[in-house]
Symmetry: C2
Subunit: 251 residues, 2 copies
């Protein structure tokens, strides 16, 4: 493989292109609805057209971009309704995952792992004067918690589908993380969410499938309400992950 101007030579060109493009879209460098020219992506990513094209196909499957009838791709534009629906989908999937974990039982080691994660989150949100750094750490830990939850199901099919349900960045738990500067009650939100995290783990441990399911659905409803709040506070919108994709107002 030809490697000339290659910063990180351990990763394939396709992966590099995929990461670059995803970042360009999520960061808002490419506006929703904007057509993605392959050549310009070649310039921006430093890889050739072939891997760029691969990445585009993957991103289309992922749902971040869509094929244009006349050829090529454009950044998908999501409405607020789309975001809320994505959260609901995620809620349904995570409810199913939690139920499966509860009904089928989980290994001691998997349970220990997710309990560790719970403890880490507890520790993180314990102080009352949270900074923006705390929040970005929380996003990471929260994502880990949800990934571990998916794995508790023990079903590759469910894990895959649950992860796909979170493909829309808004559906991800980070969707409801709002900077405390705008919303002083942000920590409270995190505390409530963490409560639900704890409850679902307990429900799984005591084999209460129905309850585990209900908790995760409620968890999604919480995320929905919080995102709604953020969207109403125009000023905080930019702090919501992936907000660059939301086409608001008209249309």
């Amino acid at each position: 493989m030809t490697r000339e101007h290659d910063a990180d030579r351990s990763v394939s060109q396709t992966v590099k292109a995929l990461l670059s493009l995803r970042d360009l879209i999520l960061s808002g460098a490419l506006r929703p609805g904007e057509r993605i020219s392959e050549l310009s992506m070649v310039e921006r990513t430093g890889v050739s057209r072939t891997p760029v094209r691969m990445a585009l196909v993957r991103l289309e499957e992922e749902g971040l971009i869509e094929a244009i009838p006349s050829g090529g791709f454009a950044v998908k534009a999501f409405t607020e309704a789309d975001i809320f629906d994505a959260i609901e989908v995620r809620g349904a999937m995570e409810g199913l995952v939690a139920r499966a974990a509860a009904e089928r039982g989980v290994s001691r080691s998997a349970l220990a792992a997710i309990r560790d994660c719970l403890a880490e989150i507890d520790e993180l949100i314990e102080p009352h004067d949270l900074t923006l750094d705390h929040f970005s750490d929380y996003v990471r830990l929260n994502a880990r918690f949800h990934a571990l939850l998916h794995e508790l199901s023990g079903s590759p099919v469910m894990i895959r589908q649950a992860e796909r349900a979170g493909a829309l960045p808004f559906a991800s738990p980070s969707g409801f993380v709002i900077a405390q500067s705008s919303l002083p009650q942000a920590r409270t939100i995190l505390v409530v969410a963490q409560d639900q995290h704890r409850c679902v783990v307990e429900a799984i441990e005591s084999r209460e499938g129905e309850r585990a399911d209900a908790i995760m659905r409620e968890h999604a409803r919480l995320a929905r309400r919080n995102l709604q709040l953020a969207l109403e506070n125009q000023s905080t919108l930019d702090l919501v992950a992936g907000s660059s994709l939301i086409r608001r107002g008209r249309r």
Copy 2:
């Protein structure tokens, strides 16, 4: 674009490759676990490596094949547990879709369309001496019913996710279609399923979200039971759509 030995010149090479490969996998021409050589696919499909590669990437996202660490792709092998899980995922997604349709309300035209579909199925399964042809027609109509149901939700995000949930061929409604030669009660199964179809439409019409959700979950449980039956009857296995992908017995 270079078009020499092109039978159907209206369709792009990539689509042709995608359809060919999917068919090769689902028909069992490529065994589960088997490595897919790009060159051999070039021979079999008559298109060049580039579109073949595109199709491979798409099929990987779709979940029918998986990347090999050392490079290339292999046909994914599914266990029976995978299939059952896929059906459960589909049940959860269709429950959500039905609930959304009920809670949000549907247009008169959409309702008319799905009622038409219901009527067509009624007509098809009315005679008591169903042949194999009836069954394959049923598979088509049934798929249409489920697609129409998804659309009733009115949510592009949910539609997309629901369709993706059926990516595994076993999760599809056709999964429980069993030839009447082996299972004389096959028609009964279809009648029961159709009853559920009718009930969910009624529930949606009368805005009973909870009930619509429950019906679709039960519908999935029915599919699960029927597939179980088919799997127990070794002889009928070959008649289950996509059965070539199921790795049974050992492992």
